[in-house]
């Protein structure tokens, strides 16, 4: 057996809910897997699908966009925008060979540190089973 695969997972967390939940998890000394790297964004609706593709291109094995629950968005509708994009983006990713489990959208309330941790743990487990992202089959070399 080789070394255990430690997936790299990027989470875009909205400032008002998911990031606040991560903060709460921290101040309450709750533990979550170190595989998750969090980038704070003002709103889940601001996460351009180009950035998700960029994250995968730069070596992320999984990407999570975490925003406020429906109806709770600080900017009223940003999370619905995220939802529309996520559904279309997931379909595209699947066509490109990125398994659907590698990209998810989650609603996490500011007070719900527990959910944040559950999502993180579940994601790490699932991606560990899938292994590293392998979009392109071996293509060989030319000379």
């Amino acid at each position: 057996m080789g070394e255990r695969f430690e997936p790299k997972i990027l989470m875009f967390a909205c400032n008002w809910c998911a990031y606040a939940a991560a903060d709460l998890a921290g101040t309450s000394r709750m533990k979550y897997p170190p595989n998750i790297r969090i980038i704070r964004v003002m709103c889940s609706g601001r996460v351009d699908p180009q950035l998700v593709l960029e994250a995968f291109a730069n070596g992320a094995d999984g990407v999570i966009i975490a925003g406020c629950r429906p109806g709770d968005c600080h900017y009223i509708e940003g999370n619905y925008k995220a939802l529309r994009r996520a559904i279309l983006l997931r379909k595209l990713l699947e066509q490109l060979g990125v398994e659907s489990e590698r990209f998810r959208l989650e609603w996490i309330a500011a007070s719900d540190a527990k959910k944040l941790i559950e999502v993180a743990q579940d994601m790490v487990e699932k991606i560990r089973k899938l292994g590293p992202l392998k979009v392109v089959r071996e293509v060989g070399k030319i000379e």
Partner: protein, 331 residues
Amino acid sequence: MSEGKIRIAFYWMASCGGCEEAQVDAVSDEPSLINILDIVFWPVAVDFKKEDVEKLPDKSVDVALINGGVRLSEHVEMARLLRRKAKIVIAYGACASWGGVPGLANLYSREEILSRVYSEVPTVYERDRKPMVKYVAEEGVELELPEFLPILLPLNAVIEVDYYIPGCPPTPETTLNALKMLLSGKIPPKGSVIGASQRALCDECPLNATKPEKILVKKISRIYNTRIDPGKCLLAQGIPCLGPSTRGGCTALCPKAAMPCIGCYGPLETHIDYGGKVISFLASIIDSKDEREIARIIEEGLPDPAGLVYKFTLPASRLRLNLMKWGGRSV
């Protein structure tokens, strides 16, 4: 450029011939060009051989215009040869620039493609079924045929490219703009897209005046079963028109003919990934907050996102580009 003449070479790789048509059209629009173009290589029309190019001194060709994607070992060889002989190499058209339509084949492996084409389709004869690199012709002559590469690559994956002329094919106007720019001696920075606009297609589209500030639709329509109003912005009618994310320069040919832009002039400089950009604005026009309803609208109106958003750019897309190792360099 010597004696007021431009020594020019044309080459086609995995190409449909449309780019050649466009080049001929451009010269027909500006016949005075004939007098200054000194054609040294043009496989589609003139009987020069590879040896003729090999015999030319290095850097003795002013410009090489190369179209089509890199799909065969022969394309790699010829592209490298032309790179040695030419001062300026231009990727001409969508295929050479980002892979183009034939680049969609990268959604499948070489084995899948060959098996489909040579075994599964019912119209092929048994004797023609196997693609081969070594082949003995009827006269007994042994031939070595080029290899079908594992994936299709844009030109800049195998050689350094100086400029890009976008389009499928580039319009004669775009082609002439680019040639005139080079002739004027106003040399743009290496890697520039030339002959086209620096702004999005919507900016030059006559229907832009009818485009509302915010578009929201309950249905994304497909053109085969939709009656399109030719006087109204197509996106506002729920037709996926890629004008907002596509480089201008074609004078909005498709929307002017009541057809959506499918993105053949490719991305603008500010884009990270063309397909991601399209996903971003297309999803935003869906007028629903309900997950099931959104999924249904997408399923019905956008059944093949990859074919739509990467119709011309899949081999150069951010995800593919970075993860592919080709000939020791990341492309």
